[in-house]
Structure formats: C-alpha cells, structure tokens
C-alpha cells in the first residue's frame, strides 16, 4: 500500500472542488544514484476519482509529473457529506485508495 493521500473536497454554489496531494517518489528512471547507477522509473500511472461511486476524473501520469503529485479539479453537484474516493496505481502495481467527505 502506498502512503496516504491528503484530499480536501468542498462544495460552493453547486460546484465541488477537490484538491489531492499524493505521496509518491515519481522517479523518472533517468536519475542516477550516488554510484552512478540509474534509479529505475517508479511513478503513478493512473488515478481515478469517484463521487459517491461515480467517476468524476480519470488521469494518466507519465514520469514528468512532480514528486508528491498535486491535483485540483472541479465537478458539478455534490453536497456536504458525499463521499469522494481517489485511487491510484503505480508502475510497480502498488495502489492507494483514500476517501473523504465533502465539507
């Protein structure tokens, strides 16, 4: 299991804004360690955000997304207490899933 995400979701005038901060190294596969050996690529490849079980955003990441990826998106609808679930998977098959309620 990956490290926990920080997710904040708040609704204003019928639009829910979701901010996600993932914890991931996002190694490009191009960086060399102290011994001059390449550090293998290790990055999130996909993420999916769901509002009460319905997909509201899908994303695919290459190696160029920054370490500890940050994401903001908005969707119409959502009320306080609704559930926002975000999952990701990385190129090593590790996954992480976190859920918050809209505030």
């Amino acid at each position: 299991m990956g490290n926990p995400m920080r997710i904040r979701a708040s609704v204003q005038e019928g639009v829910t804004e979701v901010k996600v901060l993932m914890q991931h190294e996002m190694e490009t596969g191009l960086r060399k360690d102290a011994d001059g050996k390449l550090v293998p690529a290790w990055h999130i490849t996909e993420l999916k955000a769901l509002h009460n079980g319905k997909t509201v955003l899908e994303g695919q990441f290459g190696t160029a997304v920054s370490k500890n990826p940050y994401l903001v998106f908005r969707f119409k609808g959502g009320v306080q207490g609704d559930k926002i679930l975000v999952n990701w998977i990385d190129n090593k098959g590790d996954t992480r899933s976190d859920e918050v309620e809209i505030s």
């Binding site: 639009v15 996002m26 490009t28 191009l30 960086r31 060399k32 390449l38 490849t45 996909e46 993420l47 999916k48 079980g53 319905k54 997909t55 509201v56 955003l57 899908e58 994303g59 695919q60 990441f61 290459g62 190696t63 160029a64 997304v65 920054s66 370490k67 990826p69 940050y70 994401l71 903001v72 998106f73 908005r74 969707f75 119409k76 609808g77 679930l85 999952n87 998977i89 190129n91 090593k92 098959g93 996954t95 899933s97």
Partner: protein, 175 residues
C-alpha cells in the same frame, strides 16, 4: 466492495508482469491486428472495458519527441485556440515543481493533455473528463530545461492547443 475487486485486478495484472503486457500491447498496436493480451483479458472478462488501465496510452507516454507523441495520440497538428487557457509561470526557479493549470472553454471537452516539448518524454499527463466535471485541472510537472508547455485539448473529437514558454533556471529531472 467493488473497488477492492478493481484493486485486486489491477494488482494481479501488474504482478503478471506490467512490462510484458506493455510490450504485448505495443506489439498488438504495431501489427495492427489481433486481440493482444489486453484484448484477450478484456474478452475473457478479467478486465472490463472502461476500466482505467485499459486505456493507459503507454506508447504516447514513452514517445521521445513532440512528433512521436502526437503520432501516438493520433493527433494531426492541433490548432491553437483561445478557448484553451494555459496558466504557467514565466520563470520556474525549480524545474522539479512547475505548476500548470489548464482550463478549456470548448464545449464537449473530453480530455486535456499536458506536454513539455523538451522533456525526455514529452507527454506529462492526461486527464479524462466525464460529463459534469469541469474541463479544468491544476497539477505540477517536472521540466528538464526551458521549454514550451502545451495544453492539448480534445473536444468533440478534435484537438486544440495552447502553448506557453516556461524559463527554467534549475532543471527538474536530476541525473
């Protein structure tokens, strides 16, 4: 729980050898025929269509140049369009963390791609917007050097773009 099931499938899929599957998929794409391993999994119901991984555009993410990337995405020179708003800093002091915001005011925006022309791999991220989600996204990308950043938007099946240059004073790809 439905999601747990997804996770398991994702995990087992990868454990089965993510690379192998990628290769198989690329081969299948290249030869333009056959089901490929991915198709086979889909066919036998291991992976349902619409599940996220099934769409990972590995060939586009692996592409090294702008031309290769656009080719992999099936894009013919996208038009510049003022309804695509790209917000990036003019100067990035730290190439490892460059904030990028894209908003599309085109109707039926389906996808937003973020590309960095002079990165080792041009395509940084791709976002898919279902109905009801605003065609807007903010994220942060790494930039190796001063380069154009391109927001590529797919709306109504067509591609549009907005381009801005970001000056990088310290590269973000290490090595």
């Amino acid at each position: 729980m439905q999601f747990m099931a997804h996770q398991k499938i994702w995990a087992s899929f990868y454990n089965a050898g993510g690379n192998l599957i990628n290769m198989e998929r690329r081969k299948a794409l290249k030869t333009g025929g056959g089901l490929g391993l991915l198709g086979l999994f889909t066919a036998i119901g291991l992976i349902r269509p619409g599940m996220a991984w099934a769409k990972y555009e590995a060939s586009a993410f692996d592409a090294k140049s702008m031309a290769e990337t656009l080719d992999a995405l099936g894009v013919v020179t996208p038009e510049s369009n003022l309804s695509v708003h790209l917000t990036v800093p003019e100067i990035a002091e730290n190439g490892a963390v460059v904030p990028v915001s894209v908003a599309s005011f085109l109707e039926h925006t389906e996808q937003i791609y973020i590309l960095v022309e002079k990165n080792p791999n041009v395509l940084a991220a791709n976002f898919v917007f279902p109905d009801g989600t605003e065609s807007f996204v903010t994220t942060r990308v790494k930039m190796r050097e001063t380069s154009s950043v391109i927001a590529l938007v797919k709306a109504n099946g067509k591609f549009y773009r907005a381009t801005k240059e970001v000056k990088v004073t310290a590269g973000g790809c290490g090595g």
